[in-house]
């Protein structure tokens, strides 16, 4: 028996369950509401002892920048049920300064409006909430800036998320633009967007001091990565990683916002530290989520495209202006799709950031790719119009031979197939070439297309343990997290095929940092990264223990990178087709049809994959028509901070929506043949809708979302 992790190469698996529909293994618990989320657990039950429970409520700053002069908790503490108030004067001290966003309640500094300034702990939720309203905080306010405009000063960050070059340049863009026969020079804008998973950011924790020395923090957290939270929190709390346990068996969505821990989770850990032996729990309110849990920066994409009269791109320039927060830098990689999508000898991309006194921006589904591809794909549509070319043809004409960014050959670039198959399915050929050609009653009707891509990502740091149980069952353990992606189900399928056993024989254990380490459910990398480790461990287990292992036989392993991968540029691709109807008098936009055709490697489970792609398309439709966070620069906060004013697509907004994929397997990418599907659905869909609106009406809107005010009066 060995329990030492070993790095080992993997072989492609023989697929039996993988590739087939499989109902979600956690589905019954989800449809009956019996699957517990972060603050629905019983920590006492987990730890086998009675734990008194306290409810927490956050007090947030009333100024955007300055210093707290005083915190008076006396009225709060006098309120029945309120037990304790933590603020910067009495909070346990945190160590290190690498994570300024997580250094909550450490100083009187206020860096943005609605930053956490105190936490109230009480015996009931009602008392905690009322207590929070009774904490009196006075401030010394300082001048601040919270507005992103074309004239806001910017700087050049050292790199952009996750670690890409800030700028790129090849050839002579200015000369090629000057010589171009057709030119597009336009600015495309996307607004502040908020992830808004339906389960709010929430956590429940207990701090226990062992009488023999040593402490332990145990925490249920609504997170996309239990090990990520543990490794961020342990050193700040002065603990070893083994002294921190983070669990997340069920997570109600995240879309990136739960990819890294944010301030509220640390506020929970700190309050637990201040009240040892008591379980404390906090669900961030929907309103507070708009300030405390990350969001997508607004982006301004200044595009210049120069082409010859046949539409062949000679120059591409994409200059991005966006914002970050003074507290912590986050640089969205908005120009990244422009670096690899189309051919063209002369190219330049850049990112500049305005540093503002605002809430900390972070990942939101397809960071960079979504707003960047929006800009590029509408710019390409602008170019098609100016060249008098069909937009599908124009894209085919600009297919690169090799990746223009890295100079490497693409592995399995099947964008053209996606475009052609989508065009056929959608009935694209019947489309009138002129915009504003079809009217039905009071509605202008048109169609649009956009391409999408997403890089193939796999994260290091994944280990899996396989252990033989009684009755021929096999426990497969890795600290992965299912945020709605279907990880519980697809990892069971992958494990079964890798072990050569039925799915019923697999006992999957995920969502716990006491399990072997796993990377984040983000970057569309979860299934690839965790799945590869599972395959490595399963194959090693069979080699070590054979087909009839003794009960207790254990193997722990991690997957070696496929060396072949280094030779290629690897991306998934897709083509999105949309039909839009625009009401002549009101400017209302409806989208009766949206179709995405994708090349994503092998689809592990068509049931859950379809849901994920449709979910991405839906979020893209939502971004196209509704989503917009309105910041009031006079106060520095988001005005539209709830679901009544920050609109997301509701059921009636979604009509005929379809997703399909090419039949393929990419075993260079992963031993499962899959490449990742979580984000590509939101890339391309906003541009397809916007291009369809132009085709319907002849009115070009370049700023998301396409709300009726941008159309009415021009129809």
């Amino acid at each position: 028996m060995s329990d030492e992790p070993q790095q080992r190469p993997t072989r492609p698996i023989d697929v039996r369950s993988v590739g087939r529909e499989h109902v979600r293994v956690d589905g019954r618990a989800k449809v009956t509401g019996t699957a517990p989320y972060a603050v629905e657990h019983d920590l006492g039950e987990l730890l086998g002892r009675e734990l008194p429970l306290l409810h927490l409520w956050l007090v947030t700053s009333r100024i955007a920048k300055g210093r707290i002069e005083s915190v008076d908790a006396s009225r709060a503490l006098a309120h029945p049920g309120v037990v304790h108030v933590v603020d910067h004067t009495n909070a346990p001290r945190l160590q290190g300064d690498d994570e300024p966003e997580l250094l909550v309640l450490q100083t009187p500094r206020v860096s943005f409006r609605n930053e956490i300034v105190a936490v109230v702990a009480a015996e009931s939720l009602e008392a905690a909430r009322e207590g929070a309203a009774l904490v009196d905080v006075t401030y010394a306010e300082e001048p601040f800036s919270a507005e992103l405009t074309d004239s806001t000063p910017t700087y050049k960050p050292d790199s952009v998320n996750p670690s890409m070059p800030t700028d790129t340049e090849e050839g002579d863009v200015d000369a090629a633009i000057a010589a171009a026969e057709v030119l597009v020079e336009e600015t495309y804008r996307t607004p502040f967007e908020h992830n808004n998973p339906m389960e709010p950011h929430a956590a429940m924790a207990v701090w226990e001091d062992d009488p023999g020395g040593g402490s332990r923090l145990t925490m249920y957290d609504s997170t996309q990565g239990v090990h990520g939270v543990r490794s961020a929190f342990a050193p700040m709390l002065g603990l070893e990683p083994e002294q921190v346990r983070v669990l997340a068996p069920n997570v109600g969505g995240g879309f990136g916002s739960k990819g890294v821990p944010h301030a509220p989770e640390m506020a929970v850990a700190l309050t637990a530290r201040a009240l040892p032996g008591r379980a404390v729990k906090l669900a961030v309110t929907r309103q507070q989520m708009f300030s405390l849990t990350g969001y997508r920066t607004a982006t301004f994409s200044h595009f210049r495209l120069g082409a010859d009269d046949e539409g062949r791109l000679q120059a591409l320039e994409h200059r991005v202006v966006e914002q970050t927060s003074r507290l912590k830098e986050y640089a969205e990689q908005t120009a990244s799709p422009t670096r690899m999508m189309y051919a063209g000898p002369n190219r330049r991309t850049s990112h500049r950031l305005a540093m503002l006194d605002v809430a900390v921006p972070s990942w939101m589904r397809a960071p960079g790719e979504m707003p960047g591809a929006y800009a590029q794909e509408v710019a390409i549509d602008d170019l098609a119009v100016r060249c008098g070319l069909d937009p599908v043809t124009l894209r085919e004409r600009n297919e690169p031979e090799i990746d223009p960014d890295t100079g490497k050959p693409f592995h399995d670039r099947r964008l053209v197939e996606c475009l052609r198959r989508g065009a056929e399915r959608f009935g694209w050929a019947d489309r009138p070439s002129e915009p504003r050609s079809r009217q039905e009653g009071e509605w202008w009707v048109g169609t649009g297309v956009a391409a999408s891509s997403y890089p193939m990502m796999a994260m290091p740091g994944n280990t899996c343990r396989v252990e033989a149980l009684h009755g021929g069952r096999l426990a497969v353990s890795i600290g992965a997290v299912d945020i709605g992606t279907g990880a519980w189900t697809v990892l069971t399928q992958i494990a079964a095929d890798a072990l050569g056993c039925p799915t019923e024989a697999v006992v999957l254990r995920i969502g716990d940092s006491d399990l072997p380490s796993a990377s984040v459910a983000g970057g569309s990398s979860g299934t690839s990264s965790w799945g590869s480790a599972i395959v490595a461990a399963a194959q090693a287990f069979r080699e070590e223990h054979g087909e009839a292992p003794e009960v207790g036989a254990v193997t722990t392993a991690a997957a070696e990178e496929n060396p072949e991968k280094e030779r290629y540029a690897m991306h998934s691709f897709g083509a999105v087709f949309a039909e839009a109807r625009v009401h002549r008098w009101t400017g209302e936009v409806r989208v009766p049809r949206l179709l995405g055709v994708y090349s994503v490697g092998r689809v592990v489970n068509p049931t859950t994959a379809r849901s994920q792609l449709l979910g991405g398309l839906t979020m893209g439709l939502s971004a196209a028509l509704f989503e917009e966070g309105w910041r009031d620069p006079r106060f520095g906060h988001t005005v539209t901070q709830d679901l009544a004013t920050y609109h997301v697509a509701a059921h009636a907004d979604v009509q005929r929506l379809e997703a399909e994929w090419l039949d393929e397997a990419d075993t260079v990418a992963t031993p499962m043949g899959s490449r990742g599907i979580g984000e590509i659905g939101i890339v391309g869909s906003p541009a397809a809708v916007v291009n369809a609106v132009f085709h319907a009406t002849g009115v070009r809107v370049r700023d998301l979302p396409v709300t009726p005010d941008k159309l009415v009066g021009q129809l």
Partner: protein, 173 residues
């Protein structure tokens, strides 16, 4: 503190409540029934939907003291008396993969059950053309009637398929 009685998923409870307690917090925090979810606490998302005295109802906007004596059925209790303990609407959600993260799902399921009843009773909706004729439960009707329940995972296509199936099977719900 006032005393209130609730029958929840077939079980009677009598308890003292803080007057500020909502039905949602009573269910979740006092009775430990977390099938109804808190997505917004402001009546804007539908996650907290249950059947309250037989009708779909948002519980985050309902103060417990105003509903003394009410009968509540949550997604966890819907299956009572059904084959395999699973309500046909929940089963249709499961088979149509009408969810991803599952957080909005118990509310969606309760909402669908209540909505099917409203259809049977002939209630019109915002998109019903003819207010006198029998309602034709076409896709637009179903989408409109389910629009009080937001799903950020974007499972609407699956939800529609599940609900459509329940309408077709005679609305047994």
């Amino acid at each position: 503190m006032p005393t209130v009685s609730f029958r929840v998923d077939g079980v009677d409870h009598t308890l003292d409540v803080d007057v500020r307690t909502t039905v949602l917090d009573l269910l979740r925090e006092r009775l430990g029934n977390t099938a109804p979810k808190k997505g917004c606490d402001h009546g804007q998302c539908g996650s907290c939907t249950v059947l309250l005295d037989g009708r779909r109802h948002l519980t985050c906007l309902a103060l417990a003291v105003s509903y003394d004596g009410a009968e509540v059925v949550t997604a966890a209790g819907l299956g009572e008396g059904h084959a395999d303990g699973l309500h046909p609407v929940a089963d249709a959600f499961l088979r149509n993969d009408a969810f991803q993260c599952g957080y909005c799902t118990p509310g969606q399921v309760c909402s669908a059950v209540g909505m099917l009843d409203e259809l049977r009773e002939g209630h019109p909706s915002h998109v019903t053309e003819d207010l006198d004729a029998e309602v034709d439960p076409d896709d637009d009707e179903l989408r409109e009637r389910m629009s009080g329940n937001l799903c950020r995972c974007g499972a609407y296509v699956g939800i529609l398929a599940a609900v459509r199936e329940c309408v077709a099977s005679g609305g047994e719900a």
